[in-house]
């Protein structure tokens, strides 16, 4: 729709280099592409309208004019009213607005949720995302994998307050509303990691409620699914084995699930394949050994207000626990 150089210019304005930046203009999927084109079209229209109005506004101000005469100019007010107000103020804007409306409506209609074999349930929690793959029977958190080039249906729910599910590069946002199931869909046309965010204010850590959408080539996707389906491996080295005991004996198991162990609670994120994920605490931290230890020691320091309590452990126990969690690939 838009000439390529214009789009390029615009993209450079909303500068965007490597992946991971959540720009609505550097899109990677059909839904966001269409909206980005609509946006560029509207911004160009807006710029023209703005420029015209500015000329009309500024010229009479700067033009100066006679000071001596006090009586107003004699004009045919009816003619002026017709030209300026009826035509300029009503008819022309009406036409432009009708155009904008029709284009928008078209894109809106095309954005219906398509049918697809890929379905994911996403549940917003204060302040993390539970991600379920019902067809495959596993649960993960804050990271959604989708196969490239395929639409994936998302069923959105909330466990507490209202959140909003948003992946700027792929799709506009849809709220996850308490007591209601909303639907949306995602499709990425090229492999990549796309940042997603909670867009509805949901309390203290609304700022740290991001997630990633990973678009994999079909093979990678299948491999990922196959790994997620597996229960957690039984740890082999002694430190990890001790860590597992700690995990099961401490409060951790009151809140978390590790499939393949007795821990089966659903208060916090499923940790079965924690080590395969990119971030901790819904994007608050990178998933590294140090961060993991720091998180368990005092999550509130890293993400003030988080619902996970600090669990007091001595250094060795903590190291063992972390060693165990590191095995959950």
């Amino acid at each position: 729709m838009m000439p390529a150089p214009v789009t390029a210019l615009f993209q450079s304005l909303t500068r965007q280099a490597s992946g991971g930046r959540p720009s609505t203009q550097h899109t990677a999927g059909p839904a966001a592409d269409a909206i980005a084109r609509l946006g560029v079209g509207m911004i160009i229209t807006a710029a023209i309208v703005f420029a015209v109005v500015m000329v009309l506004l500024v010229w009479p101000i700067i033009r100066g004019g006679s000071t001596s005469e006090d009586a107003p100019r004699v004009i045919d007010e009816r003619r002026w009213e017709f030209r300026w107000i009826v035509v300029g103020g009503a008819l022309v804007p009406m036409l432009i607005l009708a155009g904008v409306f029709v284009f928008s409506l078209g894109i809106m209609r095309a954005d219906g949720v398509p049918s697809s074999p890929y379905e994911v349930e996403v549940i917003g929690h204060q302040w993390w995302w539970e991600v379920r793959y019902p067809a495959n029977g596993f649960v993960t958190a804050n990271e959604i994998h989708i196969p490239v080039g395929r639409p994936v249906r998302i069923h959105l729910r909330s466990a507490d307050v209202i959140h909003s599910f948003w992946v700027p590069q792929l799709q506009g946002k849809t709220d996850a509303i308490t007591g209601q199931v909303n639907e949306t869909w995602l499709q990425a046309n090229r492999p990549g990691v796309y940042r997603g965010e909670c867009a509805e204010f949901c309390g203290l850590q609304h700022a740290h409620m991001s997630f990633v959408v990973v678009a994999d080539a079909q093979g990678d996707y299948d491999a990922w699914v196959a790994n997620q389906v597996r229960p957690a491996a039984v740890p082999t080295d002694s430190s990890a084995l001790m860590g597992q005991k700690v995990f099961l004996s401490q409060s951790c198991s009151y809140c978390h699930t590790v499939r393949g162990t007795p821990a089966g609670a659903r208060v916090g994120p499923d940790l079965t394949h924690l080590a395969s994920r990119r971030t901790l605490g819904a994007g608050a931290l990178d998933n590294s050994r140090g961060n993991l230890a720091a998180w368990i020691e005092n999550p509130d320091r890293l993400k003030p207000g988080t619902k996970m309590p600090p669990v007091p452990l001595d250094g060795a126990t903590l190291q063992a626990l972390v060693a165990y969690l590191e095995t959950l690939r």
Binding site: Q16, M54, V100, S104, M108
Partner: protein, 625 residues
């Protein structure tokens, strides 16, 4: 024998004393107080913003805790929307409406005083929390269930709910007062189609308040019952619906955003023709546009809810309605442009500069409004800084800029002193540039995916530099506001004397001295056109006794359509009742806040008794109504 003016002064001006300070019912003094207090709230809200911008200047900033940031942006939004934007315009309305229509006061002067006191006291209740770090923290639209007792235990949300319920009393009383005044007290000859355009916008605004504020009241009552008494309006587990809050809130909220700009556009329609030295082109169109903006404004609320999963058909409808409501705005803009073009010369006063700035910002903010009215675009832009940009362009552009223009224009009338034009120019350019530096980049940030209401953000997402620029812009803007304050203060000491009509304007308010005498008009004037001081119409012969009204505190009541003299309206003397009633109601709300039956019940009984006292005629003269 004393002159009429002396007799009137004796009747209308009680000796200044502490008592009269608390008891006054003079619309000019009340209007002035509204202006001062709402400006103070602007500074408070601006201070909140200054802290927020400090926090947002850099990524991963830890200056503020999330709890503090949440309270700041909530207080910022509610303060600006409820305790600054609308009361500021009520201040101008209170001061100017009687003067513009040739009356000696508002229809219900005591109610007017009551509105002011309740406004002030509700603002104080709203701010109790911040002194102890427990201010409201769920945003200015406070979506359920985040505000329910489960997710917001404690006092925070109580301050929001109760202060707003309280403020609603003040605002409703004010709106009723404006409508009754404009309909029944216009000077003889000022038929509806000769009213100053600001009267059309004040009428529209007041009617919108009467019809939209109850939606907020209903929403807040439900919320308070849910929180306090375990009701289930917003609880989906027990048959309630969180979206009910959103529908009610925005059913109120969107009309409200027009409520806080229409009087300002009305003021522009008064000022701009003065500086163009000709009458406005398209009076009927502007009046009609004003009324239809108010009306259509009731049919667009769900455009704040495009991401909630309401059916596409409904989204299409609300999108279309939102585009439709832009047409009257465009009509107004083009009427002003035509007036400028038809002028021989436009006087470039500071006031006029602010009006030009207003139009520029209005167009930008209006167009970004149209963009978010496009459903698919809003799916991306919703709840990002793009919306924050939109709302500041329209709010600052269409409320604050006209307000500053109006201060430069009418403050000389109120105080008798001109503001400094040279400082005024600095004032304008710094505010205008600061405003754009602060808020224009927010559009880009929004398109780059920055959500709103986040207390901090990671670096490296392309948001860092723009945020830093915005923060500097915000301080520049604040400097502009400071210059304005300096200009006002200075004018009181060294400002040139204003004279009765410094701008050679057309309205009745310019026919009296600056500042106006307590009774406004020695004789109620007559009006023969829309521009009374420009049309060469003069009082001939002796004023009829019916317009003189110099025997007791009275003004003239006229008929609704044609403003024909119809009755004498006795005006009340100074009284403490409004203040006492406001205090009694404050006690009721404090009782609700702290769950004290004693306070609540005692306050209620006191309020009822005071109301009865208010309604009971205090002397024979008052029995007459």
């Amino acid at each position: 024998m004393s002159s009429t003016a002396e007799r009137l002064t004796a009747i209308w001006e009680p000796p200044r004393s502490v008592y009269s300070w608390f008891a006054t019912v003079d619309h000019k003094r009340i209007g002035m107080r509204y202006l001062v207090v709402s400006f103070f709230f602007l500074a408070l809200g601006g201070l909140d913003a200054a802290f927020m911008r400090m926090q947002l200047a850099r990524p991963e900033s830890h200056l503020l805790t999330p709890e503090a940031y949440d309270q700041l942006f909530t207080m910022h939004g509610t303060t600006m929307i409820f305790w600054y934007a609308s009361p500021m315009l009520s201040g101008f309305g209170n001061y100017l409406v009687p003067l513009m229509i040739g009356s000696r006061d508002m229809a219900f002067p005591r109610l007017n005083a009551f509105s002011f006191w309740t406004y002030l006291l509700s603002g104080m209740i709203h701010y109790i929390g911040i002194t102890r770090g427990i201010a409201p923290h769920a945003g200015w639209f406070a979506y359920a269930p985040l505000t329910s007792s489960a997710y917001s235990p404690g006092y925070n949300t109580e301050f929001y709910t109760l202060a707003l319920l309280f403020l609603a009393i003040s605002t409703t009383a004010g709106a009723i007062n404006f409508i009754a005044t404009i309909l029944t007290m216009r000077a003889p000859g000022m038929s509806l189609n000769r009213m100053p355009l600001m009267m059309w916008s004040t009428l529209t605004t007041s009617a919108s308040i009467v019809m939209s504020l109850p939606a907020l009241t209903a929403a807040l009552v439900f919320l308070e019952l849910d929180r306090r008494y375990g009701f289930h309006f917003y609880d989906p587990v027990r048959g309630g619906a969180p979206l009910l809050w959103q529908h009610l809130f925005w059913l109120f909220g969107h009309p409200w955003v027009y409520i806080i700009i229409l009087p300002a556009t009305g003021m522009v329609s008064m000022m701009l023709p003065t500086f163009s030295r000709r009458r406005i082109i398209g009076y009927d169109f502007v009046a009609m546009a004003t009324v239809s903006t108010g009306l259509i404004g009731f049919g667009v609320w769900a455009h704040h809810m495009f991401a909630t999963g309401i059916p596409h058909l409904a989204e299409g409808f609300f999108s279309a309605a939102s585009m439709t409501v832009s047409i009257p705005s465009a009509v107004q803009i083009f009427a002003w442009l035509a007036t400028l073009w038809a002028a021989r010369r436009v006087e470039r006063t500071t006031s006029m500069l602010f009006i030009v700035g207003f139009i520029v910002l209005f167009v930008i903010g209006g167009i970004s409004g149209v963009m978010v009215a496009s459903v698919p675009f809003d799916w991306q832009a919703h709840d990002t800084y793009f919306v924050v940009a939109h709302l500041h362009y329209v709010l600052i552009g269409m409320n604050l800029f006209p307000v500053i223009a109006a201060f430069y224009y009418w403050l000389p009338k109120m105080t008798g002193r001109m503001l400094d034009e040279r400082l005024g120019r600095w004032n304008f350019w710094i505010m205008f540039i600061g405003m754009n530096i602060t808020f224009f980049p927010m559009h880009i940030l929004g398109l780059r995916g920055m959500p709103r209401r986040i207390y901090t953000y990671p670096g490296g997402l392309g948001w860092d530099r723009l945020n830093l620029i915005e923060t500097w812009g915000a301080y520049l803007f604040a400097l502009g506001v400071l210059l304005f304050i300096i200009n006002v203060v200075r004018s009181q000491f060294s400002g040139a004397a204003a004279g009765s009509n410094p701008w050679k304007a057309a309205g009745l308010e310019w026919s009296v001295s600056s500042p106006p005498p307590p009774y406004n008009f020695v004789v109620i004037p007559t009006v023969a056109s829309r521009d009374p001081l420009w049309d060469g119409h003069n009082e001939v012969g002796h004023p009829r006794e019916e317009r003189l009204l110099d025997e007791s505190k009275e003004t003239l009541g006229t008929s609704v359509l044609d403003a024909e003299p119809d009755r004498r309206l006795p005006m009340p003397e100074d009284t403490l009742l409004p203040l006492l009633l406001a205090v009694a109601i404050t006690i009721v709300f404090l009782g609700l806040l702290f769950r004290s039956m004693l306070l609540g019940g005692g306050g209620l009984v006191a309020a009822l008794l005071l109301t009865a006292g208010w309604m009971w005629p205090s002397n024979d003269r008052e029995v007459t109504t």
